[in-house]
């Protein structure tokens, strides 16, 4: 049975704007849990409240109300004890001392968590190998590539030895190859080290690739808390592209629009395409009934694939409730 390691209950945080004194509710009574060994995606558009949520989980921002427990420890009452169980990469390569070397950074951050160099020596060797930073260990951070800096920032978080690692935009600004390498590293960390990872990212490929579950926040509220595959299924099934031999007459086009208001008609040189999102699976029969009745020749029919970015956009736009109700 999966066990929650991070529990967020009824969290609220408001800020007062300095100039206008207007109260802004950044996080509005949100609740969710993260299970042990899970990779959770915490998503939301800019200004949705995810950074505030992350910082509250890290113990860097105090909530107005609500409770956060890390491994059963209240992170407000026993903040320092809770911080033993969590580490984070919040600003990627900016979380490092650029005038220190790779090894010096690792040793310094471990020291600041009360660990001696001797205590972490073996672990540092392992991490340098695992993150392919061994040949750069004596290089100053400002001379590393952005990808290497990012890997070092994650290695620093790993060295903390905490069960939960929070990564804010772990692949931001990385080239495709390094981004892929970071993803593989994260997957390996979860598999071999049994760590729990919370990721925020604007790169939906990363989320789709790494996360089992996502919590999507919008306007300070949780709008979705579901497995990625469930969300994909919810939206992917009813989008079709029907290729026709020839063109529709104006009457035929109007007839189809009456039945399917969201239909898009794209005339091409010799053929044309109908793109349609069906709200119910049986509607496909209605579409073909009309095409048959009007004697419109069909060349091909394709189900349009949907990626997680489109799913995310639909959820943020509030289409999830609509999709669920239609499905019901």
């Amino acid at each position: 049975m999966t066990q929650p390691i991070v529990e967020v209950k009824n969290l609220k945080k408001s800020y007062k704007k300095r100039k206008t004194k207007e109260i802004i509710t950044a996080v509005n009574h949100i609740s969710f849990t993260v299970n042990k060994g899970e990779i959770l995606g915490l998503l939301g558009p800019n200004g949705a409240g995810k950074t505030t949520t992350i910082k509250m989980i890290c113990g860097l921002v105090r909530p107005d109300s609500g409770i956060i427990t890390i491994n059963g420890i209240d992170n407000q009452d026993k903040r320092l004890r809770a911080q033993e169980h969590i580490s984070a990469v919040l600003e990627g390569n900016r979380n490092l001392y650029w005038r220190l070397t790779v090894r010096e950074n690792l040793e310094y951050f471990a020291g600041n968590r009360g660990k001696s160099r001797k205590e972490v020596a073996g672990q540092i060797e392992e991490l340098l190998g695992q993150f392919r930073l061994k040949d750069k260990e004596n290089e100053m951070v400002n001379r590393l590539s952005r990808g290497m800096q990012q890997k070092l920032a994650i290695a620093v978080a790993m060295l903390a030895g905490s069960e939960v690692i929070l990564l804010d935009e772990p692949t931001l600004g990385l080239d495709i190859e390094t981004g892929y390498e970071v993803r593989e590293l994260l997957r390996e960390i979860v598999r071999t080290e049994k760590k729990t990872i919370i990721i925020t990212s604007h790169d939906m490929d990363v989320i789709q690739d790494l996360c089992e579950r996502t919590v999507i926040i919008n306007s300070g509220k949780v709008v979705t808390n579901d497995r990625v595959e469930n969300l994909m299924k919810l939206f992917e099934v009813r989008s079709y592209a029907v290729k026709l031999d020839g063109h529709l007459s104006e009457e035929q086009h109007q007839l189809l629009l009456e039945k399917f208001p969201q239909l898009t008609y794209i005339p091409e040189t010799y053929q044309s395409v109908l793109e349609v999102d069906l709200t119910q699976s049986q509607e496909i029969y209605d579409l073909f009934d009309i095409l048959k009745l009007e004697q419109i020749p069909v060349d091909t029919i394709d189900r349009k694939t949907i990626n997680f970015e489109q799913v995310f956009m639909k959820i943020v736009k509030g289409e999830k409730e609509y999709a669920l109700s239609e499905r019901a």
Partner: protein, 257 residues
Amino acid sequence: MRFLNVLKANIRREYILLKRYLPNTIAMIITFYVLFLGMFAGISLIGDPSTQDTNIQYVIVNYIFWFLAMVVVNDIGWQITNEATQGTLEQLGMSPMGIWKIMLSRLLSTTLIEFAIIIALLYLSMFTAGQWLNVDVLSILPVLILTLISMFGLGLIIAGFTMILKQIQAFLQILQFILAGLTFVPLSVAPFLAFLPFVKGIDMVREIMINGVTLTEFAAVDILILVFNAVFYLGLGLFVFLRCEQFAMQKGLLAHY
């Protein structure tokens, strides 16, 4: 034990940076030395010849302590400003040791590492002026340690305010002159200054180094004020720092600008 590891990590970092940026360190020493030469020349050329020796001795002790106060009190403010700008302050805030312990260890490590420079500057200025002060280590050390404790308290107050205000550079520039004022003004001119951090301590060190007073010759009240200042300002510094930390967390101010 864990705090010792924090302290060791910070001493090591301080040492690495000092060594790595040696030209900066040398430039800083030269700047301070040139400043001393200016003061020394001023006293030699336009000062009263009858009190010249005492005045020069006075300047040596004062300017060494000014340097010490700058290193301890002012530097921590700059460090916090830089950490906030770089984005590392939040990482320090995530340490289970607590930021205050890291900041205290920064204060200690800066003092320890810079102490070698301070000793070198002291001997360099004594050599330049041809005035050899009484370096009675047994008398100076206890007074110096208690003086430093009150300086650490003030350093924590500065660190706390810097954490929440951040754009405090202008104040830090002014602070170096306030520190100069506190170190240069003699207590005989303004006795109430004895209750300000480190002023009493510097006055006592002056007595030891210039007039040859030993620790046992100080009145009990002098020692009491010194101990009181150390305890009071360190306590106040910790209190203010922790309050500022709470405030910063309430307002989400640990991030960069």
